[in-house]
């Protein structure tokens, strides 16, 4: 087995296991920490595919910024096992059924795509490098890129407006 195959299996097991632990942990803080580990495992996958920029940005934005906000909210609200409201049996059942249905839909939608026949490029290909990404974003996809930046700007203005004391 080559070194990238070993890495792939280790990362996949880590990603799946930690993702399962996110859902099954009773303590919300533990869930957040498992989610951070999941993001790191996914970043590892990106690096295997030589999408370095995506890997680093995934860590900066998701593991570094968004999960900190999650932790903030959970710590300040002091959610824990004791204060968790007891859920009804049928609520858990409904959750299981709807989650399973979502999985079914995703599998059904993805099973006939061309992804299956395409071999992923391991440790080669320069699509994920910052130079290629920058050139693509500012030439081919310049309009969607600018539109999404306007979306971000309006979200920021909204956040400032809400946060302002009047």
């Amino acid at each position: 087995m080559s070194i990238s195959a070993i890495l792939f299996w280790v990362l996949s097991v880590a990603a799946l296991f930690s993702a399962l632990m996110v859902v099954t942990s009773r303590n919300p803080i533990h869930s957040v920490i498992w989610l951070i580990i999941t993001f790191f495992a996914i970043s590892g996958h990106y690096i295997l595919l030589n999408a370095q920029f995506l890997a680093v940005v995934n860590i900066i934005v998701y593991a570094g910024a968004i999960m900190v906000l999650f932790l903030f909210v959970i710590m300040l609200m002091n959610l824990n096992k004791e204060s968790e409201p007891a859920r009804h049996r049928w609520l858990q059942l409904a959750g299981g059924v709807s989650g399973g249905a979502l999985l079914l839909v995703l599998v059904a939608a993805l099973k006939d795509t061309e992804l299956k026949s395409q071999q992923s490029l391991l440790l080669e290909g320069h699509t994920g490098l910052i130079k290629t990404l920058g050139q693509e974003l500012f030439s081919t996809y310049v309009i969607p890129f600018e539109l999404s930046s306007i979306l971000f700007l309006s979200a920021m203005v909204g956040a400032v407006l809400i946060g302002k004391k009047d």
Partner: protein, 349 residues
Amino acid sequence: MVIGAVTLWFILEKVILIASIIGLSFFIAMYTTLAERKIAGWMQDRHGPNRAGPFGILQPLADGGKLFFKEEITPVTSNRFLFLLGPALAMIVALVTSTVIPWGAPVLTSTGTIALQVADVDMGILIVFSVVSVGVYGIMIGGWASNNKFSLLAAIRGASQMVSYELPMSLALIAVLFMTGSLKMSEIVSYQMANGWNIIYQPLGFLIFFICALAECNRTPFDLPEAENELNFGYHQEYSSMKLGFYLFAEYINMFVSSAVMATLFLGGYDIPFVNEASWGLEPWLYSLISFSVMMAKVSFLLFVFIWIRWTIPRFRYDQLMNLGWRKLIPLALFNMVLSAAILLWLKS
């Protein structure tokens, strides 16, 4: 023996390099604690520690030994695993950042060149920022797992301070990247060797970056997470023995690494100032040694400035800290970014 595309020799080289950089970080951090107390003494017109060994040079060992022999206390109400994870994360994150910093000119040997840098990756400086953004967890998890109101408050303060100051820091960095045109640390250094140091062209950027570095390391005047008069001892209140030692020590390693990052980004890295060292025709190993010492001199100077500021400026109030970060530094950094972009565009057209 070959594993994948990697030879055993390559692995050995990197392991030696990593071990020596970690050793160096610990050594410098150890003696920064002594330097801090000596400089504090000098500034306050007293001797500072001078009992352990000549001029007190064994003082860091005595401090470390004391911490090791302290009683290990874990609060019964806290989460044991997370309680341990906090200081461990703080230490790991502090050490990981040093991987992408070039410590000196590459050594040319008969078998090839050995870069004095663990990994010269394309993402270079972004790796530093990703590690910095993860650095919050050491404080947050430790503070939460202590199950103490003061620890939690201090942890949340510290985390929001670090998140807030990351923004102007990265905005100041963007202006530097405009000029160098690369995220690779080695290319940032070679650009400065050819065109002069970035601090000459980006004085405002350096100032913003330095202030943010102070805040990221939780150093005075931004050491709010350990404001004794409001929060007892801060996020590490419940910690004792070497777990406390890890938190305190990680702060000094952070100072060392952030000084190295600033030296690389703004002060020309291992470049020797005012001379064209390439024309000297030195032996490669000698040149590497000199460039490494120059890098260390720059780092030591920045460390001195860190300590100097600590014993000069009093602590900010928390609202002043947030005001400075969001209302002053971010607009200033944005202005600096737009100005640099405009000037570069004008020069290139």
